[in-house]
C-alpha cells in the first residue's frame, strides 16, 4: 500500500455531535487496511456535487495504528455551500467518497520533551489525534480548547478522558480564567507548542510566544498546504494546436497528458527543470524552484508541472 491512488471510502457511521458538527467514520470501500493516518495528518476528501467536485481538507482524529477507519469531524457553516455543507446535507451511511492518501503538514516534533496543545473551535480536530498518540505513548502533554458556549458540551464529550485525567481543559467564551501568557510562561524548556484555529487566534498565540522568546519553529500550526491549485485557466499549445482547460485542482502537465500529449517531465514537483517550456503569450504564476528571480520576471520559460497562470490564457510552445 504505497501508492498514491485515490482511495474509495465508504461511510460506515455518521454521528451528530451537535447542531453544526457531524462525525463521519470512513472505511475502505474495497476492504482492507487504510494507509496509516498519522497524528496531525489530513485527507483531501473529494465530494461530487452534481458536476462540481469539492475538495476539502479534514484532519484525521484517530490513532494511526487503527488502520480500519478514518474519523473526521465536519462543521456546517451557515453561509457555506462547499463540501462541508454537502456532507451535512446529502452524505449518508453507505455512500462512497474518495480521498487521496493522508498528508501530514502538522507533525509531532520528534525532539519535544513536552507538548502543549492550544486550539479554538473546530481546530480541535488535529488535537484529538495528537492526544490519542501522546497518551498512548505516555508522553507529557496538556491541551487547552477554547470554544463558544454552543460547542461546550460536544467538545467536553470528545475530550472527556483527558479532562477527567486533568490533562485537558475546555475554556468557554468569554473565559477570563484562561491566561495564555501565564500558561506559556510556566512551560519547561523543551516544550513544543501546537495551535490550530482561526487566523486571529493563531496570530495572538504566535505573538504571545514571540514576546516570551519561544524559538522560531514553535508554535507549530496546522497547515493544509497548497493543494488547492488555484483558479482554473486555459492553456493553448502553439505547435500542436490544442486549447485545453486547466481545472483548479489540475496542473498544466496533467491537462496535457489527459489530452494525449507526453511532455518531458521527471520530478513532477518543480525541481528538476525537465518540463521547462517556453511561454509565447500570457503571464505564468511561477511555483517552481528551478527558475531564479530574473528568469521569472523574464517570463520566457515556465515549469508546467507546478506553475499556473496569472492571465486567463497561456500560449505555450508545445
Amino acid at each position: 500500500m504505497t501508492r498514491a491512488e485515490d482511495i474509495p471510502l465508504r461511510v460506515v457511521a455518521v454521528e451528530t455531535l451537535n447542531d453544526t458538527l457531524l462525525r463521519f467514520t470512513l472505511a475502505r470501500a474495497d476492504g482492507g487496511e487504510l494507509p496509516t493516518g498519522a497524528a496531525g495528518a489530513h485527507i483531501m476528501l473529494a465530494v461530487q456535487d452534481g458536476h462540481r467536485t469539492h475538495r476539502n481538507a479534514y484532519s484525521l482524529t484517530g490513532h494511526p495504528d487503527d488502520r480500519r477507519c478514518y474519523r473526521i469531524i465536519v462543521r456546517r457553516v451557515a453561509e457555506s455551500r462547499g463540501g462541508s455543507a454537502y456532507l451535512h446535507a446529502h452524505v449518508r451511511v453507505g455512500d462512497v467518497l474518495h480521498a487521496g492518501w493522508p498528508v501530514n503538514l502538522f507533525p509531532l516534533a520528534s525532539l519535544a520533551r513536552r507538548h502543549l496543545l492550544v486550539a479554538r473551535g473546530i481546530g480541535l480536530t488535529p488535537m484529538l489525534s495528537f492526544a490519542a498518540v501522546l497518551s498512548a505513548r505516555g508522553a507529557p502533554f496538556e491541551l487547552h480548547q477554547m470554544c463558544r458556549a454552543a460547542d461546550e458540551a460536544a467538545f467536553h464529550a470528545l475530550l472527556a478522558p483527558y479532562v477527567d485525567a486533568g490533562i485537558a481543559q475546555v475554556h468557554v467564551d468569554p473565559a477570563p480564567a484562561f491566561d495564555l501568557p501565564a500558561l506559556l510562561a510556566r512551560q519547561p524548556l523543551g516544550t513544543h507548542l501546537y495551535m490550530c484555529g482561526p487566523r486571529r487566534m493563531m496570530d495572538d498565540v504566535t505573538a504571545c510566544a514571540r514576546a516570551l522568546g519561544w524559538p522560531r519553529h514553535s508554535p507549530h500550526q496546522e497547515s493544509f498546504g497548497d493543494h488547492s491549485g488555484g483558479a482554473p485557466f486555459v492553456v493553448r499549445t502553439a505547435r500542436t494546436g490544442l486549447t485545453l482547460p486547466v481545472a483548479a485542482d489540475q496542473t498544466i502537465l496533467e491537462a496535457l497528458e489527459d489530452a494525449g500529449l507526453s511532455p518531458a517531465c521527471l520530478c513532477r514537483g518543480g525541481v528538476c527543470g525537465e518540463c521547462r517550456t517556453t511561454v509565447l503569450e500570457g503571464v505564468p504564476d511561477h511555483r517552481d524552484d528551478v527558475l531564479d528571480a530574473s528568469e521569472r520576471i523574464g517570463n520566457r520559460d515556465m515549469m508546467i508541472c507546478v506553475s499556473r497562470a496569472r492571465t486567463p490564457e497561456l500560449l505555450i510552445d508545445l
Partner: protein
C-alpha cells in the same frame, strides 16, 4: 525474477559473486544517454520502470540470501553499522511496517504478513523466519524494529528526521556503502553531507533537492540512480575498511579488467514515513562486471562513451583515476561506434550469448 541461484555468492575473500543472464538483463543501468553529468534526476518510484529492478518498492533478487548473510557478517564485526537515535522510535516502526507490507505484497511466495490487531506474524521463507510480535512493543522482537527488518532486506537504509525546515540523518543500517564521503548524497542532512561533491553545488542541485524532499509525500516515493565503480564485487567499501579494499585499485590490468572491474549502481529510493513524518532513504546496490556488460551491446557502447568523456573532476571524486584508462581502452575495443537508442533499458530480451 527468482531468488534461486545466487545464494552461494560471496562479496569478500574469493569473491564468488556473479550475475545470471536474468540478473544482467534486469540491471538498473544508470546512463540514459552517451554522456553523464549531475542533475536532479529524481522521479516518482512507481511500479514501472525501464528494467525489472525498478518495478517493486524494494527489489529482491538472486543475491538476496547472500547479501543478508554478508550484512550479518559485517554487523558481527562492527555492530555500530546500525545505529538509530532514541527519538526515532516511531520511524523505526514505520520502516518495519512499510518493508513488511511491501515485501508481502510484492513477493507473496517469499514473504507473508498476517495481522491480528497489534499481533503480527511475519514469515520470511528464504531466511527461514517465522516470528510473532506486537507492533509497537520493541521488547517482542529480538532486535530493535529498524535493525530487525533491515537485516532482512538488500541494500542500505538511512532514517531522516525532518524538523526546522531541514532534514537530519538520525539513523541508518549501512553495511554495503560505496565510500560514503564520496557518494552518499541525496536525502541526507543536506548541505553538510554534500560538502565534498564537486560541480553539483554550483548547479544548485542540493538546494533544489532539499526543497523537493521537504515536500515528499506519504504514498508517493521517489527514486534516483547513482553510480561509481568498484574493483572486485565487494559490497563493503566503507571508509573504515579502506586498508582492505583500497589496494584493490592497483590490481587492475588490461588482462583482468573485464572480470575485476564492476559498475556499481545505487538505486536510491525515498519514502515519507507516516507516524514519524521522517524519510526512509534506501540505497540498493547492484554490481555488474565489465565482462557482463559486454553482453548488452547498447550498454557496452554507452559505458565506453560515458567513461571516455567523463568530467575530470568527477573522475577524481569517484576515485576512478587509477584504472579508468585501462577500462576505457578495454571498452573501446568493443564499441563499434553505432548509434545507441534513448533510455536506459537494454533493448533486447536477453544478453548476447557468451
Amino acid at each position: 525474477m527468482t531468488i534461486a541461484g545466487g545464494a552461494d555468492d560471496t562479496f569478500r575473500g574469493k569473491f564468488s559473486f556473479r550475475n545470471s543472464d536474468a540478473a544482467i538483463i534486469r540491471f538498473p543501468f544508470p546512463f540514459h544517454e552517451d554522456r553523464y553529468m549531475y542533475a536532479v534526476n529524481l522521479e516518482p518510484h512507481t511500479h514501472a520502470g525501464p528494467t525489472d529492478a525498478f518495478v517493486r518498492d524494494f527489489d529482491v533478487d538472486e543475491h538476496y540470501v547472500a547479501e543478508c548473510r554478508e550484512r550479518a557478517l559485517v554487523l558481527e564485526q562492527d555492530p555500530s553499522r546500525c545505529r538509530v537515535l532514541a527519538h526515532m522510535m516511531d520511524a523505526e516502526w514505520d520502516t518495519l511496517e512499510l518493508l513488511m507490507e511491501s515485501l508481502a505484497r510484492d513477493y507473496p511466495a517469499l514473504f507473508a504478513l498476517d495481522k491480528d490487531g497489534a499481533r503480527w506474524r511475519w514469515r520470511n521463507r528464504p531466511l527461514g523466519i517465522d516470528a510473532t510480535f506486537t507492533f509497537g512493543d520493541p521488547s517482542t522482537l529480538p532486535q530493535p524494529p529498524f535493525e530487525y527488518i533491515t537485516r532482512q532486506v538488500q541494500g542500505d537504509f538511512t532514517l531522516q528526521d525532518q524538523r526546522d525546515d531541514n532534514i537530519y540523518i538520525d539513523g541508518g543500517m549501512v553495511t554495503t556503502q560505496a565510500d560514503w564521503s564520496l557518494d552518499f548524497d541525496l536525502g541526507m542532512a543536506f548541505h553538510e553531507w554534500h560538502g565534498p561533491v564537486p560541480v553539483a553545488h554550483d548547479l544548485g542541485v542540493f538546494d533544489r533537492a532539499l526543497k523537493y524532499l521537504l515536500r515528499l509525500q506519504y504514498g508517493r516515493p521517489v527514486r534516483r540512480l547513482n553510480w561509481t565503480m568498484t574493483v572486485n564485487p565487494r559490497l563493503d567499501t566503507s571508509p573504515e575498511n579502506y586498508p582492505i579494499w583500497g589496494p584493490d585499485r592497483a590490481t587492475v590490468t588490461a588482462g583482468n579488467v573485464g572480470e575485476r572491474l564492476h559498475l556499481r549502481v545505487e538505486l536510491q529510493t525515498l519514502f515519507r514515513l507516516p507516524r514519524s513524518n521522517g524519510i526512509l532513504f534506501g540505497i540498493r546496490c547492484y554490481l555488474i562486471s565489465l565482462n557482463e556488460i559486454l553482453r548488452v551491446p547498447k550498454w557496452r557502447r554507452r559505458l565506453h562513451r560515458v567513461l571516455r568523456d567523463l568530467h575530470p573532476e568527477l573522475v577524481t571524486y569517484k576515485g576512478l583515476s587509477r584504472y579508468l584508462p585501462t577500462a576505457v581502452a578495454f571498452l573501446a575495443a568493443h564499441d563499434d561506434g553505432a548509434l545507441t537508442g534513448p533510455g536506459i533499458q537494454p533493448d533486447q530480451a536477453a544478453p548476447d550469448p557468451l
